[in-house]
Every structure is written in C-alpha cells, then in structure tokens.
C-alpha cells in the first residue's frame, strides 16, 4: 500500500513538473506574441455599417461569423438531445422549496423575462444579445423548476419541441430562403439585415432559454400519451 502511495506522490510530482513546463512554455509563447495587432477589428469596423448590427460583437456573431453561431445552436440542441436520450426526467420531488425561494421566484421570474427582452433588444447596439438574453431566460426557467413547477403534459410534447428547435430552425430557414433568392448562405441583404438578425435572435433567445431550463431538468419530460 505504501509503495502505491509513494508511487503516486512521485507521479504527482512528475506531473507537476511537466505541467509547470507546459505552463512556462505556453507563457513564453504567449509573451512572444506581438504586443500590438489590429486583429480583425479593422475589417469589422469597415463592414459594420452593412452588417445590420451596430454592436461589433453581435455583428460578428450573427453576420460575419453567423455560420459558427448556427452550428453552435446545433450544439446546444444536440446536448439536449443527448441528455434526453439518457433518461427521462426525474420524478418531481415532493419536498417544498421553502417560502423564501417560492417568494423569490414569484418576484424574479417576471423580472428576468423582462431583462431578457431588454438584453435581446439592446444587443444590436451595445453589449448583449441572444445568448445573454437566453441565459437570463434560462435562469428564470431554472428558478421555476427549482420551486417545483413542471411544464404541463400538453406543453411537453410537440409545442415544447417546436420551441426548442425554433432558434436553429429560424437560422436555417433564413439561410435557406437567402439561398433560394439567389444569395449566399446567411448573406443578408443590407436593408433587411437588422430585421433578419432580430428575428433570428428572438427565436434563438426563446430556444436557448427553454433549452437551458430543459437541460437543468436533466431528462426527457413525460409526454402525454398520444393516440
């Protein structure tokens, strides 16, 4: 037994040494980067007018590199699919959440929804946007779930699924429509860019929020048996 422990201590020291070496190496690499570089900010500034969003981050996220975001919506949905494929949702716990949480949730949930709406709206100009809004919305959902609220069986079927795929669906739909009208994938016509981005963001916010909440639930909600 002691030998095993000794071996482990040795191993750990070795590991620490290696990791320090890695850290030092990486640090050296980082420090040898040029101290000033424009990156892509100039390109972004040049093209931001036609992008449909004044906030550069939003412009990059939804326009310049919108394709990344599209795939990333896919990742989120995929995670949910993965979680759902593992198990169905755990049984509702009988324990009462307690008065404080109960009270808090009643106060906070509407507020959070409001904040989410604001973040979504402001994202076009200032920091904010679909993901932030979606996260806040998700937090509201989590809070609701914490206090023991569960979606009704009627909602947990197709309607829930539609909400979940709405974000990605909107993104893909816009992309496809643009292709159909002869443009490239996600090549928004400048006059409609802002509107399209808002549309996608709105759908994405809703989807992200619900997805996060559903992830928190940790399983597939029971569906009402259909016939």
């Amino acid at each position: 037994m002691t030998r095993v422990v000794e071996k482990q201590t040795l191993f750990r020291w070795l590991l620490v040494a290696l990791l320090s070496l890695l850290a030092v190496g990486l640090g050296y690499a980082v420090l040898s980067l040029p101290t000033q570089t424009p990156g892509l900010s100039d390109f972004v500034t040049e093209n931001i007018e036609t992008s449909g969003a004044r906030n550069p981050v939003t412009a990059v996220l939804l326009n310049f590199r919108g394709y990344d975001t599209l795939l990333e919506m896919g990742v989120l949905l995929l995670a949910l699919l993965g979680v759902w494929s593992l198990s169905s949702a755990p049984e509702q716990s009988e324990a009462s959440p307690g008065p404080v949480l109960d009270m808090l949730s009643r106060l906070l949930v509407p507020l959070l929804i409001l904040v989410a709406g604001y973040l979504l709206w402001v994202g076009a100009r200032a920091p904010g946007g679909a993901f932030q809004a979606g996260a806040v919305l998700g937090a509201a959902g989590v809070l609701l779930l914490l206090v023991g609220w569960r979606p009704g069986a009627r909602f947990s079927g197709l309607p829930l699924r539609i909400t979940l795929v709405m974000g990605l669906g909107a993104f893909v739909a816009v992309g496809l429509v643009l292709i159909l009208v002869g443009r490239r994938l996600l090549e928004y016509p400048p006059p409609f860019a802002a509107a399209l981005i808002l549309l996608i963001e709105a759908a994405a916010t809703l989807s992200i929020g619900i997805t996060l909440a559903a992830l928190f639930l940790g399983g597939r909600p029971e569906e009402r048996p259909q016939r």
Partner: protein
C-alpha cells in the same frame, strides 16, 4: 513396301499386344495372346528389310527389322507362342486376368525392344518389358518369386537410371539417337569411358551377370514353370542384346575395360560352376546355366572391347549365341518343369526351407531401422525443443500478462493524459527544431 503399310505393321507389333493388354479387350477375346503375336509373325514372314521413323512418338523413334533383329524376333515369337499355349490363360471375365495383362505388356515390351532402332525406343520398350516381367514374375509366384521380383525390380530401376544417364550423355553429345549414329559419335566422345561403364553395368544388372545375378536362382526356383521358361529368353537375352546394340563394338579399343569385363566373365563362370556343384538342385540348374552362359558372353564382349578386330570376327555369332541362349534356357526350364510336374524330383527340399532374408532384401528394413535410429538420436533434441516450446508458452503467458498490463495502464486516465501532455510538449519541441 509402301511406307504406310510398313508403319502400320511395325507399330502394330508392340501396339496390338499393348491394346490387348487392356483387360476389357482381352477378356472378351478367346485367344488374345496368340492374337497379339500375329503382327510379329507377319513381320517375320515379310522378307524385306525395312525400317521407319516415327517422328511423333516420344522424341522421334525409329523402328525396323534387319538380319540380327529378325533372328531375335523369331526366337521371341516362338518363345511367346509356346508360353502362350502353355499358360492356358483364363478368358472369362470373372477370373483373375492380370496374368494376361502382364503377359501382353511384357511381350509388347520385348517385341518393341527388338525392333527399336534408336536408343530411346529401345530404352522405353525394354523398361516396359522389365516392369511387365516383374508383374509376370510376381503375380504368379509364391513368396520366393516375389522376393526375386523385388530384387529384379531394384536392379531394373538402377539399370534404367544408369541407362537414362547414358541417354542424357549421348543426347548431349549427338542429336541423333539412332544406334549407328550413336556408335560413331560416342567412339569419338570424351565421355566414352563413362558411357561404356554405364552401359555395361546397366545391362549386366538386367541380365543378371555375376555379381548381380542373385535374383536369378531365386526366380528360377520359385517362379511358375511357364514364367521360368521366359526367364532366359526375355530379361537375360534382351539385356545381352542391349549390350551388343548399345556398345560401339568394333569401333573402339578399350583394353582396360575389356580386361575388367573379361575377368568378370571368367569369375562369373567359375562362381557358377562352383556354386552349382555345391547346391546341386535341379531347379537351380537353369539359373547357373544362365550365369555361366552370360559369363561366357561377357568374356567375349570384353575381348571384343579390347580388340576390335576380334569382335569383327565373331560379331555375327553374337546374335546366334543370344538366340540359342534364350532357347537353351527355355528348354532347360521346360524340361525341369516337366520333370517336376511328374514328381520325379522333390521340389527343392533343402534350400527352400531356408527362407532367411538375403542381404539385398534387407535394405528397406535397414533404412527404416536407420531412420528410427536417427529419430532416436534426434529425439532428445526433439524433447528439448518441446520443452523449450513449453517454456516458450510460459513466456508467452508472461508476455500476455505484460501486454495486458500495458494496455490497462494505457487505459488509465492519469497515464493517458500525461502521455498526451508529453506528446504535446515533444511536438512543440520538434516543431521548434
């Protein structure tokens, strides 16, 4: 005579017996053996001297009859006809008709050998004759005949091998393998000595010349009388005939070899006389007679080799000698057989009980024992190698465990991710190089 007809006739001399050798054929005919001799008889009766070339047979074979071979052919025909009559072959399908097959095969070989005008043809037909005669000997006889047959077969194979070498040497020297051409070519060839000694050895083995005679007494003693009738006329006579045909007699002078051959001949005669006297057995008489006569022939041959001029003188006698030898031995064997059939003489009383295996019979057993001995010698080695194998197995087990352990430790997270780390660093280092 027109060519087609002669071709047909000459081919049918060995061909008809060969065809009839098929059991399906000869079992349906009433006198198959006599029928098979017919072409030869016709050939004998045709007065012309003629020969043909059959280019598509083997490497091109020549067939023909001349003065000497006609004589031999006549002897053979008479002998075969006599034996065919005496043998009383069973003709019905159900009976064992292998005897007829062998009979016909041997006959085909014999007749073919006589009419062959080239080395290859002679060789091929004499081999056929040899194997056929072996069958004839063995199929009818008792255990002793079988032993004799085996000894004969062994010598036959050795002789054929030697003849094969001779053929190869000849073919390498000259393109034409007709007897005349070969004689001329070999007389000038550098490998003449090898040629001569091989030929002499081969035919001596086939003829049972002393000291390769040992199967002859056995054969005469145990073969069926009818087969014994053939012993002199078929293997012995044909082998002597082969010597005459193959050796470039009269064209070369080889005193040394001649002397050796002569002395062998003399020794053979002495031996036969002495042994014949000691083993005064009626049935063995033809055997010793054969040894003596072949000895005499060989002596003459040796003299001919030593002095071509001498050979030229009694060259024509040689064929007569062979023929008379064949007939003489046949008559002798027939007489003895007849005497024995009348039970005036006991069938080889003393010697026959002595069934100890002669030395020349023991070699397969010796080889087997030898092999076993070697096996025993190897066996400790085998055992040790087997032990080593077991050890190996153990080692393999150990190796298997090692493999398992390595794989298991590779599958541990800590290990694996450390390796990853190392790999990343080494890559950085190497990329920097």
């Amino acid at each position: 005579m027109n060519t087609t007809l002669s071709l047909f006739l000459l081919l049918s001399v060995p061909g008809v017996p060969l065809l009839l050798a098929l059991p399906a054929l000869h079992s349906r005919l009433s006198w198959p053996c006599h029928l098979a001799i017919l072409p030869a008889v016709i050939l004998l009766l045709t007065p012309a001297v003629f020969s043909i070339e059959v280019p598509w047979l083997l490497f091109g074979t020549g067939l023909g009859v001349g003065g000497a071979s006609r004589l031999l052919l006549a002897m053979s025909v008479v002998l075969w006809a006599a034996v065919a009559t005496l043998l009383r072959l069973p003709t019905s399908r159900s009976a064992d008709n292998r005897l007829a097959t062998f009979f016909l095969l041997t006959m085909a070989g014999n007749l073919g050998t006589i009419i062959a005008t080239g080395l290859v043809g002679f060789f091929a037909f004499s081999t056929l004759m040899g194997y056929g005669f072996y069958g004839l000997l063995v199929t009818t006889g008792n255990a002793g005949a079988r032993r004799a047959g085996r000894a004969y077969l062994g010598l036959l194979i050795l002789a054929d091998l030697a003849l094969f070498e001779v053929l190869l040497i000849t073919a390498a020297t000259t393109g034409d393998l007709g007897f005349e051409a070969v004689h001329h070519a070999m007389a000038q060839s550098s490998s003449l000595g090898l040629y001569l000694s091989m030929v002499v050895f081969a035919f001596a083995a086939k003829a049972g010349v002393w000291p390769l005679h040992f199967w002859l007494p056995l054969a005469f003693r145990s073969a069926r009388p009818t087969v014994a009738l053939l012993l002199g006329g078929v293997p012995v006579a044909m082998a002597l005939f082969g010597m005459v045909r193959w050796l470039p007699l009269g064209e070369i002078t080889s005193p040394k070899l001649g002397l050796i051959i002569q002395s062998i001949g003399v020794a053979a005669m002495l031996y036969a006389i002495l042994t014949g006297l000691i083993r005064a057995q009626l049935k063995l008489l033809p055997a010793y007679a054969a040894i003596i006569t072949t000895g005499l022939f060989v002596t003459a041959l040796g003299a001919g080799l030593a002095d071509p001029a001498a050979w030229a003188e009694y060259k024509s006698l040689a064929h007569f000698y062979i023929v008379s030898l064949g007939f003489g031995l046949a008559v002798l064997a027939a007489t003895i057989g007849w005497l024995q059939a009348r039970r005036e003489y006991p069938a080889t009383p003393a010697m026959q009980t002595d069934d100890s295996i002669p030395w020349f019979e023991r070699w397969p057993g010796t080889v087997v024992r030898w092999g076993a001995k070697i096996g025993l010698d190897i066996l400790p080695g085998l055992r040790s190698s087997w032990l080593a194998k077991v050890g190996c197995l153990r080692q393999i087990c150990a190796r298997q465990r090692t493999l398992d352990n390595i794989e298991r430790s590779l599958q541990r997270w800590t290990f694996a991710s450390t390796l990853l780390l190392l790999l990343a660093m080494v890559s950085v280092f190497l990329a920097a190089c």
